[in-house]
């Protein structure tokens, strides 16, 4: 319909629409492109007082290193400052958070979708309230007990906490996804001779993967993007990428090695780019699933 109408649209309006979209795309994409490009320069170029053309042509970079591009920032961050360790920790945290969240969430979401009792409703409402809690308020409740129990600073603690914080969202998302799977399916299975759990395993599990993948993407993002929990609950040795970057800031800016942080930032952005590239459709459907039904 929109294409048929495009012919009738006044030229002025069309110009405005294209102009607006181009402007938005610049706003959305250029900061990333700029930073990626700049991460291969030296600090004098990326933060150039004279002219920002230096950052594009790499004037100072050529002067200092002899080439227009340099990997010094990446070398400094990954090797000198052990960013690889943080990356490795991030991999562990995100994989664990995603799988545990999904395991608990599918079971719980399925029960909520099939129960239809009042308490299921109230659990969902409580989850909504929990979902709204700022993470840092919860963290301030963890610290003291975790110190006492001597479980502060290690990866498993952070993983469990992230899983719990992620549960309200996961439950809501999977609950609405399971509602879209006909009840007839598991009920036939139960009449055919399955227990509830067998019905879930044999009949529901084979058809639930689209919803699980979508929810999993968001669990992944939560674990990956988190700063409040990992910054407060992990000791310096066990830091993941995001708190590591933040700890770069304090020490690096003084010694003039801000390019380490820039390189680390770009490195941490790449997986997100790839994620959007391959799972754009699922991300969009996940964002809209809650909205269209709610």
């Amino acid at each position: 319909m929109s294409e048929a109408m495009a012919h009738k649209r006044p030229v002025l309006l069309n110009t405005f629409i294209y102009g607006f979209i181009i402007l938005w795309l610049i706003l959305a994409a250029v900061p990333f492109l700029w930073t990626v490009w700049g991460s291969f320069k030296v600090e004098a170029d990326f933060f150039s007082r004279e002219s920002w053309w230096n950052a594009i042509f790499g004037t100072a970079t050529i002067r200092e290193t002899g080439a227009a591009f340099t990997g010094d920032g990446y070398y400094g961050a990954w090797i000198t400052r052990d960013f690889w360790k943080a990356a490795f920790n991030t991999i562990i945290v995100t994989i664990c958070v995603t799988t545990i969240s999904l395991t608990l969430g599918t079971l719980g979401g399925y029960a909520l979708a099939r129960s239809g009792r009042n308490y299921a409703f109230w659990i969902l409402i409580a989850a909504l309230v929990f979902r709204a809690m700022p993470h840092i308020t919860l963290v301030s409740g963890y610290l003291l007990p975790f110190f006492q129990l001597n479980i502060w600073g290690v990866l498993p603690t952070s993983i469990i906490v992230l899983v719990a914080i992620n549960q309200p969202f996961t439950l809501w998302m999977l609950h609405s996804f399971f509602l879209s799977i006909p009840k007839d399916l598991d009920e036939s299975a139960m009449v055919d001779g399955c227990t509830r759990f067998q019905a879930f395993r044999l009949v529901i599990m084979p058809v639930m993967w689209p919803g699980v993948v979508t929810t999993g993407l968001f669990s992944f993002l939560l674990g990956y993007n988190d700063f409040a929990v990992t910054a407060m609950l992990l000791s310096a040795d066990n830091q993941t990428m995001v708190p590591k970057i933040s700890s770069f800031l304090g020490s690096i800016q003084e010694t003039g090695n801000v390019m380490f942080a820039v390189a680390a930032v770009v490195s941490a952005t790449v997986p997100l780019f790839i994620l959007v590239l391959f799972f754009q459709r699922q991300i969009v459907s996940g964002l809209t699933a809650g909205a269209v039904k709610g």
Binding site: I21, A29, P31, F47, P134, V284
Partner: protein
């Protein structure tokens, strides 16, 4: 589903939520009623061979540490923490309000109280960013909907980036561009012809940068949801509006906006919740001198040299109250609908 089966399925998830969401809230409330122990002082007689003796107060660090180990919560302080200067500052607020100064001066003084400074920024961020991001998202959605189909995939790809990006990283990227030596910061100095203008020096610029970041990172969510909503606008209604003689704008006003209204409520709710906990941008922009948020206050209490659990607890409780107030329209509506259904 029988109760037993239901709980067998949901128990792991419930336990996780109770242990790590519900209990911490309780723990925060308890913490907020305590403050850390004062240091134990001992009188030490200090005698020197020729100077005679003098008594001196000294910190007994061993005893202090022992006491802190024994009672990690600290000593009971009641609501003391809530009303002190770092939080509700009731005394200070009373003095300011009863003084004879002009409104502007009072406002300035209130902004100097850490809790109110954070609260005001948090609320401004919430209620400025949310509608603006929704308006921007809606406009993008309308514009993209008017474009040929092939362009949609790439546009959505790039549009998702500001939303999907780690908040700390996203704000750092903008911060670097806006720093005096960065491309945008230098340009701004050039435009205003003021070589001292910088994020650090200008509160207005800091607020502007944080709010811009907020709109930038929130708009894609509105865009995606509204864009999906636009695909479900009933074609029949649009066409009959066209036959009835509605202009382009009237079709948006009377058909599309009413159709998207329920979605808008949902988007507003989610974004208000998320924006109320604004935190990472303050760290990323190193903005604490000019703008702080409630979440940042808690973070600051917890990361300082001596961790102030009581103070962090009190701010957390006040923040949670804020969340409940924000959510109350939803909760009241849900409760009414539920009662209605039960009768």
């Amino acid at each position: 589903m029988p109760n037993k089966t239901f709980f067998a399925f949901i128990l792991p998830s419930l336990i996780a939520m109770v242990l790590f969401i519900a209990l911490p809230i309780v723990s925060v409330v308890v913490q907020s009623l305590y403050v850390s122990h004062e240091q134990i002082l001992v009188e030490v007689e200090n005698c020197q061979p020729f100077g005679g003796c003098s008594t001196e107060l000294r910190v007994d660090s061993a005893a202090t540490a022992a006491l802190r180990d024994e009672q990690p919560l600290g000593r009971f302080n009641g609501l003391g923490t809530y009303v002190n200067r770092a939080h509700l500052a009731t005394t200070e607020l009373g003095v300011i309000l009863s003084s004879e100064r002009s409104f502007g001066e009072k406002w300035g003084q209130i902004l100097n109280l850490p809790f109110y400074k954070a609260l005001i920024f948090t609320l401004v961020y919430c209620f400025f960013v949310t509608p603006l991001a929704m308006a921007l998202g809606f406009t993008i959605a309308l514009a993209v909907n008017a474009l040929p189909k092939v362009t949609k995939g790439p546009i959505i790809f790039f549009s998702l980036l500001p939303m999907i990006i780690t908040p700390l990283i996203g704000s750092l990227i903008l911060y670097w561009m806006l720093s005096p030596n960065g491309i945008l910061g230098a340009t701004i100095q050039h435009i205003f012809n003021d070589p001292t203008l910088s994020l650090r020096a200008s509160p207005a610029l800091t607020w502007g940068a944080l709010l811009t970041y907020g709109v930038w990172t929130n708009a894609p969510f509105s865009f995606v949801v509204f864009y999906a909503g636009l695909q479900t606008v009933p074609g029949d209604t649009l066409e009959s509006a066209m036959i009835d003689g509605a202009s382009r704008w009237e079709r948006i006003r009377y058909v599309i906006i009413p159709h998207l209204a329920p979605l808008a409520t949902f988007v507003a709710l989610v974004q208000l919740m998320d924006n109320f906990r604004v935190f990472e941008p303050i760290v990323g922009f190193s903005a604490e001198a000019n703008a702080t948020s409630l979440s940042w206050l808690i973070y600051n209490d917890l990361t300082g040299d001596s961790q102030q659990f009581g103070s962090a607890g009190a701010t957390s409780v006040l923040t949670i109250l804020g969340v409940v107030i924000l959510l109350s329209p939803v909760l009241v509506r849900t409760w009414r609908e539920f009662k209605h259904k039960a009768v």
